[in-house]
């Protein structure tokens, strides 16, 4: 069964059409990138899948269940976690407390209350696991405002991982990072378990080609191309719209 199916999705703001009949499927375990020039509709698509925005028409299915119009916390219960393009962290709390809030979400409610009473150590183990996955364990007691940007970016991913998602949505994970920080982020992402499905919105083509197996190219709110990494690399349309310009800029 497909992990995410986007079915004929459209979004317009007044007369401006941000997305027009977009179709997209992500298979379980796949690492798919959505790329495209500025204003192509990547962020809009991403935010609609995450439940942050409502589509004008069309539907989203997660593992066959229709999730259109559900809010982010409801999407989370369907096994979907996201990161933000601009960090959304609890700045006045420590790294540990940030991850604790995210991990504790799985131990909540009345049933969780009892479980938590007896399972504080299980919660702590979860927190430690996540911190080690993103290599932040050594600075777990630091307050977030005092962290370097790269570390904050990794914490951003940590908060998404803490929900033990089946599907991870990454919104420009390396945005604003130095080459060294980007390198660290990529090696961290590539070491995540293969069974986590990933959907990545990304600007940086090197990042895309190093982690994605499949790529969807958006342009002006429509799907321009869709295929494996190598197919997209060879696609001339894509080159014309996107990569050609990218290369010239570089």
């Amino acid at each position: 069964m497909t992990a995410i199916r986007v079915d004929d999705l459209s979004k317009s703001y007044g007369h401006f059409s941000a997305l027009a009949s977009v179709n997209l499927t992500v298979e379980p375990g796949e690492r798919r990138a959505v790329i495209g020039p500025n204003g192509a509709g990547k962020s809009t698509l991403f935010n609609i899948i995450a439940g942050q925005r409502l589509p004008t028409s069309g539907d989203i299915y997660v593992y066959g269940t229709k999730t259109t119009g559900l809010r982010p916390d409801a999407m989370w219960t369907h096994g979907l976690s996201r990161t933000f393009q601009r960090n959304q962290l609890f700045k006045n709390l420590t790294v540990w407390e940030n991850v604790e809030l995210a991990c504790a979400a799985r131990y909540r409610g009345w049933a969780g209350f009892a479980a938590r009473r007896s399972n504080v150590s299980a919660l702590e183990r979860d927190i430690v696991d996540v911190l080690e996955q993103v290599k932040l364990a050594h600075i777990s007691s630091a307050q977030v405002t005092n962290l370097a940007y790269g570390a904050q970016r990794q914490l951003e991913v940590a908060l998404a991982l803490a929900g033990k998602p089946k599907i991870l949505l990454l919104d420009e994970p390396t945005a604003g990072m130095s080459p060294a920080e980007t390198e660290a982020m990529l090696s961290m992402l590539s070491r995540l378990p293969r069974d986590i499905t990933m959907l990545i919105v990304e600007h940086d083509m090197d990042v895309v080609f190093s982690i994605a197996d499949a790529i969807t190219v958006l342009n002006l709110g429509e799907v321009l191309a869709d295929g494996s990494r190598d197919e997209i690399r060879a696609n001339e349309d894509v080159g014309a719209v996107y990569m050609g310009r990218q290369r010239r800029e570089a």
């Binding site: 962020s43 935010n47 439940g51 942050q52 925005r53 409502l54 809010r71 982010p72 933000f84 393009q85 601009r86 959304q88 919104d171």
Partner: protein, 288 residues
């Protein structure tokens, strides 16, 4: 019955226009500065009291109408320049408390300066008569108020849409960084708009004084109604403020005449309803 409707409608219109003058300043200030100025009612009362003082000295209504709003604008400009300007970076709660603090201070200072009695001054002799409308004689001064309200709506609307400073204001509502990039001193623009808003509130006070009677506590009464108008009309929208003034002004006038027991209940329920309708089914908070 028809007479009742006409009289109440005209009175409602007069009240609506006083409300609009108040809402105009508050809404404009919010749209540009993102500050909900809870001292706005104090500037209304200040304008009215300045008016009584000027009238007492000169016995000229027209002198009062010119000088009182200028006084309120000056006080507003000073407040913005000397104090508020440093707090734009703070969150909205801080500004709400700060301006509320000034509202309380101004309120008591006015009590000290002008006493606790109801004050007022007569309408100008040129407008002391009445006009026949549909077999009803209606005071011409009240008609003047309606005209002033509509005229100010049209003028401000045109000024915002058609002039250079209007364009600047619209641009800085949309994007402050860009405007300061144009080399225009945005802080000066803020002070001007704030002073304009408080000046208009002062104008509402001095124009309203002959028909309302002014007394301590009136500042908070008009503040609450103005806040309701501005919230119903949408913070920052001039046209919204105009139509909301009409809605609330009419609802309150007719409510007080027909169901005095629950009139204010209706107004608050109306505001709650409008807020909820606007919030319902909205996209979640927009973050990227």
């Amino acid at each position: 019955m028809l007479e009742f409707l006409t009289v109440q409608s005209l009175n409602g219109l007069v009240y609506s226009m006083v409300l609009f003058l108040l809402a105009l300043g508050l809404s404009l200030t919010f749209g540009l500065l993102r500050v909900v100025n809870l001292a706005h009612g104090a500037f209304f009362l200040m304008g009215a009291y300045f008016g009584t003082t000027v009238w007492g000295l000169t016995h000229s209504f027209w002198a009062a109408v010119v000088i009182a709003p200028l006084g309120a604008a000056l006080m507003g400009g000073l407040l913005e320049k000397l104090w508020l300007q440093r707090f734009y970076v703070r969150d909205e709660l801080d500004q709400v408390i700060l301006t509320f603090g000034f509202a309380l201070v101004f309120s008591d200072l006015m009590k000290v300066l002008w006493g606790k009695d109801i004050r007022g001054f007569p309408t100008p002799s040129a407008f002391s008569g009445a006009v026949e409308i549909a077999n009803i004689s209606f005071p011409s001064y009240r008609l003047l108020l309606i005209l002033v309200g509509v005229a100010l709506f049209v003028i401000t609307w045109l000024a915002i849409e058609r002039t250079r400073i209007g364009a600047l204001i619209r641009a800085s509502v949309a994007d402050r960084v860009m405007v300061s990039g144009l080399g225009f001193d945005i802080r000066l623009l803020f002070t001007i708009v704030f002073a304009f808003g408080t000046g208009i509130a002062g104008l509402a006070g001095v124009l309203g004084a002959p028909i309302m009677g002014i007394y301590p506590g009136l500042d908070f009464e008009v503040l609450i109604t103005t806040l309701i108008v501005v919230v119903v009309g949408g913070l920052g929208s001039i046209a919204g403020a105009f139509w909301a003034s009409l809605l609330i002004g009419m609802a309150e006038t007719f409510g007080k005449a027909l169901v005095p027991e629950v009139a204010s209940f209706i107004i608050f329920a109306l505001m709650a309803g409008v807020l909820l309708i606007r919030a319902w089914g909205r996209d979640e908070e927009e973050v990227e």
